[in-house]
Amino acid sequence: MRKLMASAYKEVLLLLRDWGGLAILFFMPAVLIITITLIQESTFKAVGESPLPIVLVDEDNGEIGRTVASNLREAPNIQLVTEEDDKPIDKARARTLVSEGHYQIALVIPEGISRELNEKVSRNVDRILGEFALVDADTANAASDEREWKTQEISIYFDPAAGQTFRNGVKTNIEQLLAKVEVRKIYDIFIDQMGLEEDPGLLNGEIITFKETIAQKGNDGIIPNAVQHNVPAWILFGIFFIVVPLGINLVKEKNLGTYIRLRTSPVSYAIVLGGKILTYTVICLIQFMLMLLIAKYVFPLIGLIEFDPGGQLPLMLMIALVAGLAAIGLGILIGTVAETQEQSAPFGAIFVIILAALGGVWVPTFIMPEIMQKISAFSPMNWGISAFYDVILRNGTAADIAQPLAYLFLFFATTLLAALFYDKRNKTS
């Protein structure tokens, strides 16, 4: 035990005097979590909370154009743009503005669309009412005359950089808006043609509405937001980045010659590694707490939403502990196998980035292609993220995260045993 503690104390001293290593362990993850969350938060806002600017070119100047404009103007998440330098934007300019990336969407209401719609709807209404003899015969006959209708197209220009999902979402919203305008028009003409003096109010209020609820266990759940998605993901990324300094530490030890002293002393390699495991586990937990404190106290100061663990701190700490062990196991394996820092540092860093990408740190796994989702299931980062999400977003209990934690611990045990086996094989080969 004394030898283990001496080894751990030595590791602490080595770390305290390695400013580069400390920067990798604490400063870089802190910068990372703030930067990435800020970027992702603003992206999230761009498609969600902050107004989305839409250019509207109203060549119609009729009822449809006015209705679309007024609906867009009233929408809370849309900023209507119709002018540029106090001059109305025309169709060609709208297309240019979008193609140059100044705006993501432009909507062009063609000339005469209101008139055409008005006429088409009036004739159809007259024809229907004529069949019930609710209009005079001349009107009904005139409505029955075959006439070729000119197809009117509303043009939507999208920024080439806009994703398909975003385009589909906007298109659906505009289609819904136009459908409402059409229904309203039909309804108004019916009211007018039927000679009703008062609107019976059939279109007032929604007949079918939606209630949006986040499916969580229990009733005291917190509503997920970008911060709650990003914080655990990047905490995990930071924890796994411990692979780099730990790998360097082991390789340095081998190259310094201290390895010879360690291997010839009456101490098992497991004790030497135990000192490192103990120290780096504590580092992981400090790192976790530091990032949590940043998310709680620094985020609100820079305009981000405060991260609230929602009483799940002990479980989160447990995940950080086991994820830390998994990262340490990987770092020990890389450091044991690598012969130079040039091998261990880039390999460690790139491998962690690959694990993060596969694990869903950047892109959620559910939108990955099926094959990638299958591969993702083998990333320890994925096990960690799913455990964090179970706890934070789904109010999970210790039993809910037992499986991902078992996987992470198994990963730690496997990598550690592989490192010990490799070391022993080298000794006998």
Binding site: K3, A6, G257
Partner: protein, 269 residues
């Protein structure tokens, strides 16, 4: 303050050393590394007696480092028997390692730790602790003239200072057998004198020294017995004076060395 480097534990207190002169026995030892088509050591047999300063000399790639690595417990032999007193190396590795001291050619120290912190750590690996450990460190540092630098980081030390701390780290636990690999390489005359004086002192107090070097002149004057090893086997063995006398016209160990190993370059890859 005089330094007491009496061997601990005293070999005479161990039943397996009582009435025995031999401390290490090597019998038909062979080592072939995985993937290599040649033997690093081939059927090597050797006996090292208690209290000797045994020189292990040979050209590059002769097998010296492999032999020392096996004797220190770093690597395992492919074949052969190895005994430390009555103890079998394979079965009592930890027990034997407790009695060994190793001073590698590399500065086997942590550059960002102080001399004191390095010695505290390496001492603790041999079970030393508390006042005993600290007094050994203080005495050792004083003996090698580094008391004033005990709180300084090793990376600020000159080559000679690092060599002296390197040596201290290997003898702090007062080993019965001390392995030295080029203990004076790259040091100035003053540091070399301190190191050699300390080694003589240790030997006089009973420590067996196994010394490997390319400094043939130093070996000639320092060692009580020498083995020249080449191509994994011992080509000649004996006291330095006798070895010199055995080669016609030889005036130094260097002549003996060339006589037995030839003049051609030994390049291996």
């Amino acid at each position: 303050m005089s330094l007491d480097f009496t061997c601990y534990p005293d070999l005479n207190n161990f039943p397996y050393f009582r009435h025995m002169d031999e401390i290490i026995r090597i019998e038909t030892l062979s080592k072939r590394y995985a993937g290599s088509d040649r033997y690093a050591l081939k059927d090597l047999s050797l006996s090292i007696r208690k209290g000797e300063i045994f020189g292990l000399l040979g050209p590059n790639g002769a097998g010296k480092t492999t032999l020392i690595s096996i004797l220190c417990g770093m690597i395992k032999p492919s074949a052969g028997a190895l005994r430390f007193g009555t103890l079998d190396y394979h079965r009592h590795a930890r027990q034997i390692q407790r009695q060994l001291g190793v001073v590698p050619q590399e500065y086997a120290l942590y550059p960002t730790l102080t001399a004191e912190e390095n010695l505290q750590y390496f001492g603790s690996l041999y079970g030393l602790a508390g006042r005993d450990l600290n007094s050994r460190i203080a005495e050792g540092l004083q003996r090698v003239g580094l008391s004033a630098f005990r709180k300084k980081n090793i990376k600020t030390f000159s080559g000679g200072m690092q060599r002296r701390v390197n040596l201290l780290a290997g003898i702090l636990h007062r080993p019965n057998v001390l392995f030295l690999d080029e203990p004076t390489v790259g040091v100035d005359v003053h540091s070399k004198e301190v190191i050699m004086a300390l080694l003589h002192e240790l030997n006089q107090q009973g420590t067996t020294i196994i010394y490997s070097s390319h400094h043939l002149n130093e070996a000639q004057h320092f060692c009580t017995r020498i083995a020249i090893i080449d191509a994994g086997s011992i080509v000649v063995e004996g006291k330095p004076g006798r070895l010199i006398a055995s080669v016609a016209g030889a005036t130094s160990l260097e002549n003996v060395f060339i006589h037995h190993t030839g003049s051609q370059l030994r390049d291996y890859a």
